[in-house]
């Protein structure tokens, strides 16, 4: 061995001792292992699919679905002509419908109970505590089943529906209420509503500026409510009431006409919002606790009423603490809505990863698409919440 060769040997050894090279080496190993694993799984899958004669690819999306769907919103669906793609879209709409209403309701419940949990009133405080501790420690699936199979199904039969007023019916098929069917000329009402909403923002900005300049307070809230009610009513009068009201009636089997909320939807909505609400209540409580007491005292000493103190001083600061965990609760709610499949609500998991998967046998495609959907929703919610979080964080000096 020559001297140069020995040097080289040393250099080689040293290179492997060098963490930078070692890191590269390890990463190459990891990549190779992962690649081998992916290849192995892919190979097996290909062989299995071939052997079992399972089709692959996304051609099935354009084939007619052939089965009926219980809850269809915003779309026309016929079992003969609609495709699996339509089924996917209906599933997405249904998931979004229950998630969005669930998020609103859960936030409402959560904030109410979070505030009640901090109430000085001992009884109220304890009620909130019991609600939170009981609901949080019982699996959501049990609660869903309880709502669906034990609560909603003991509501009266269709023929013995509970009437609230003349046209609001509650029975074990859900809740029915009059529907507004747009006729020609309805567009003006829609436009009026949109204009009203835009005006509300304009008024709010103007009032804010005026308050900054003159210190006078303008009743923004009541003005907004007035705008949102009055403008569409005027539009409706101009067009001569361009809609029909379709009242629920007793049909042969269940209520026909009107709009109705199915028991599956109600059970899922109630279960999701009550469950998530308990978690949100805890988040709200800790968020409010995180605002130092000095803030409240300062607000009081400035003469702000307790309501205004909460609204203008405590909550805006608490929100900064509340929003990040709140986001993950919203994400959980969306993901938990997939439990719909256990109580027969037609969400994306039940419809697309359930029925479509079964009828076509294309497990990989169906589950992949479903997962991608949930991933994108997660991404969207966290992006929105990050944006919102930034916005409220800017208040800080």
């Amino acid at each position: 061995m020559t001297a140069e060769a020995a040097d080289l040997e040393v250099a080689k050894i040293n290179k492997f001792r060098d963490p930078r090279y070692r890191a590269i080496f390890y990463q190459i190993v990891v990549v190779v292992l992962i690649a081998l694993f992916v290849w192995y799984v892919g190979h097996n899958t290909a062989v299995n699919l071939e052997k079992r004669g399972i089709a692959s690819g996304f051609g099935f999306l354009s084939q007619p679905a052939g089965f009926g769907i219980g809850i269809v919103l915003l779309m026309d669906y016929s079992s003969q002509t609609s495709t699996h793609l339509d089924v996917l879209i209906i599933g997405i709409i249904n998931t979004l419908a229950v998630s969005i209403s669930g998020i609103f309701l859960a936030t409402l419940i959560g904030f109410i109970f979070g505030v009640l949990r901090l109430s000085k009133n001992w009884v109220v405080n304890k009620i909130a505590a019991v609600y939170i501790e009981v609901i949080r420690n019982i699996p959501l699936l049990v609660q869903l089943m309880f709502w669906y199979f034990a609560v909603l199904s003991v509501l009266p039969l269709v023929k013995d529906s509970i009437h609230i007023g003349d046209n609001f019916l509650i029975n074990n098929r859900g809740v029915s209420f009059p529907a507004i069917i747009p006729a020609s000329g309805f567009w003006l009402i829609t436009v009026a509503l949109l204009v009203a909403i835009v005006l509300c923002f304009v008024v709010k900005n103007w009032a804010h500026k005026r308050q900054d300049l003159t210190g006078q307070i303008f009743p923004v809230f009541w003005t907004s409510v007035g705008l949102i009610i009055v403008l569409p009513v005027i539009a409706s009068l101009i067009m001569g009431n361009p809609f029909e009201i379709n009242y629920p009636e007793y049909g042969r089997f269940s209520i026909t006409g009107g709009w109705s909320l199915e028991p599956e939807f109600l059970a899922l909505l109630l279960g999701l919002s009550i469950y998530t609400g308990a978690f949100i209540a805890e988040i709200v409580r800790s968020g409010i606790n995180a605002v130092s007491h000095g803030q409240t005292e300062a607000a009081h000493s400035l003469g702000l009423s307790p309501g205004k103190t909460t609204r203008l001083v405590v909550l805006p600061q608490a929100l900064r603490v509340i929003v990040p965990p709140l986001t993950s609760q919203y994400l959980n709610l969306v993901k938990n809505s997939s439990l719909a499949t256990a109580i027969g609500y037609a969400d994306i998991t039940a419809l697309f990863a359930g029925t479509s998967l079964n009828q076509t046998g294309q497990a990989i495609e169906c589950i992949m698409i479903t997962m991608i959907f949930y991933l994108s929703i997660s991404l969207l919610i966290s992006m929105f919440m990050n944006w919102y979080n930034k916005r409220i964080a800017l208040v800080e000096r």
């Binding site: 062989v47 420690n137 019982i138």
Partner: protein, 367 residues
């Protein structure tokens, strides 16, 4: 005549309206008209709920009997739970073999006590017992097939037993996997970090049901023909991977709480990466993360009910199956209330433990 008192008058007690029960009530219940109204309404709600629950669950309920005909009261029919108790606890595990499960429970309970309580200070041997001895013994006990024990197929496992097996095996696998993922996520190697972040965020972004579906429907497609896992194993794989991702985030939280100086100090003492991690960083990080780990475990425990959807007979599904039995049809409320109560006891107990632990560890840090 002295009109001025020379000696100090003894302190009068505060007005009766400010102290004692009345004072407390004035302060806490009737401090303002709104508060008074709230109190009255709440008391009514409590009375309504408690009286309803008590009369349903106790006064009008039926405890004695064998069949549904024995349920004559208007309240709950706990006879159903009683009649099905064996199945609810053990599933279809053969009656004459159930002692094996009980022994497993006892072994695990001893281990839990040793590890979790304050009685034994040095946790080394309890940990070895709990995390090596108990799992191995329980595997042979529950599944059988050796030491003269009859094989009990996993398809016969069920009820609370299966729920506990699912939860404990998942956590047992998820914790180390989660630690590895968390370390990977904080690693300086970009590819490793990317893979770990990808895995964690992917799993956390999708519902457990889809992961379970994947494990039950797609896993057989990924394996070579003829290689085939038991349904329980498939569910366990799904649940473990799922909770590993959540565990990784919890552990990462713990790791982030450890000041950088710790690692630097360890390195300056000549410790390598694994030595530093194993001896210095992880023990501290895990200690901080314990309450969150317990919380993750509570979540995981509640999530085991989802195996109902892939057809395993856990506590919830076996009770549900019972309510559809012709003898007991219509016992849904009793069934769900019972399941809810069992889960509540477990989860509430664990959450109390986690709070207790948090306080204990907290004071430790203050000192």
């Amino acid at each position: 005549m002295a009109i001025v008192k020379t000696e100090r008058h003894e302190d009068l007690p505060p007005p009766a309206s400010q102290t004692g029960v009345i004072g407390w009530m004035r302060e806490n219940l009737f401090s303002s008209p709104l508060n008074a109204l709230l109190t009255v309404v709440s008391l009514y709600v409590i009375w309504w709920a408690v009286s309803g629950i008590v009369s349903y669950a106790f006064i009008n309920a039926n405890f004695v009997g064998e069949t549904r005909e024995d349920c004559t009261g208007t309240g709950a029919c706990w006879v159903f739970i009683k009649a099905r108790f064996g199945q609810i606890m053990y599933g279809f595990y053969p009656v004459e073999e159930r002692w094996r499960v009980d022994i497993g429970y006892v072994l695990a309970a001893i281990g839990l006590f040793l590890v979790l309580s304050d009685v034994v200070k040095n946790k080394k041997w309890p940990a070895v017992y709990m995390f090596v001895f108990v799992p191995v013994v329980c595997y042979f006990l529950f599944y059988g097939g050796s030491f003269g024990l009859e094989v009990v197929e996993t398809s016969q496992w069920g009820g609370l037993f299966l729920t506990l097996v699912l939860a404990s095996v998942s956590i047992f696998v998820a914790l180390p996997l989660g630690i590895v993922l968390a370390l990977g996520r904080r690693s300086s190697m970009p590819i490793v970090r990317m893979l770990c972040v990808g895995f964690i965020e992917f799993v956390r972004g999708v519902p457990l049901i889809t992961v379970l579906f994947m494990a039950s429907v797609m896993l057989p497609l990924f394996l070579p023909e003829g290689m085939n896992f038991d349904k329980l194993i498939r569910a366990l794989v799904g649940m473990s991977l799922f909770s590993a991702a959540y565990m990784a985030e919890v552990v990462r939280g713990g790791l982030q709480a450890i000041p950088k100086g710790q690692m630097e100090a360890a390195k300056s003492l000549g410790l390598g990466y694994w030595q530093a991690m194993g001896l210095i960083i992880l023990p501290q990080a895990l200690k901080i993360a314990i309450p969150s780990i317990v919380n993750t475990f509570i979540g995981l425990f509640k999530d085991t009910t989802l195996v109902l959807i892939i057809g395993l007979l856990d506590l919830l599904s076996i009770v549900k199956a019972g309510t559809t039995d012709k003898e007991w049809v219509g016992m849904a409320t009793e069934g769900y209330v019972f399941v809810a109560a069992v889960f509540w006891v477990f989860c509430f107990g664990m959450s109390r433990y986690s709070i207790w632990l948090e306080n204990k560890l907290h004071t430790g840090h203050k000192r």
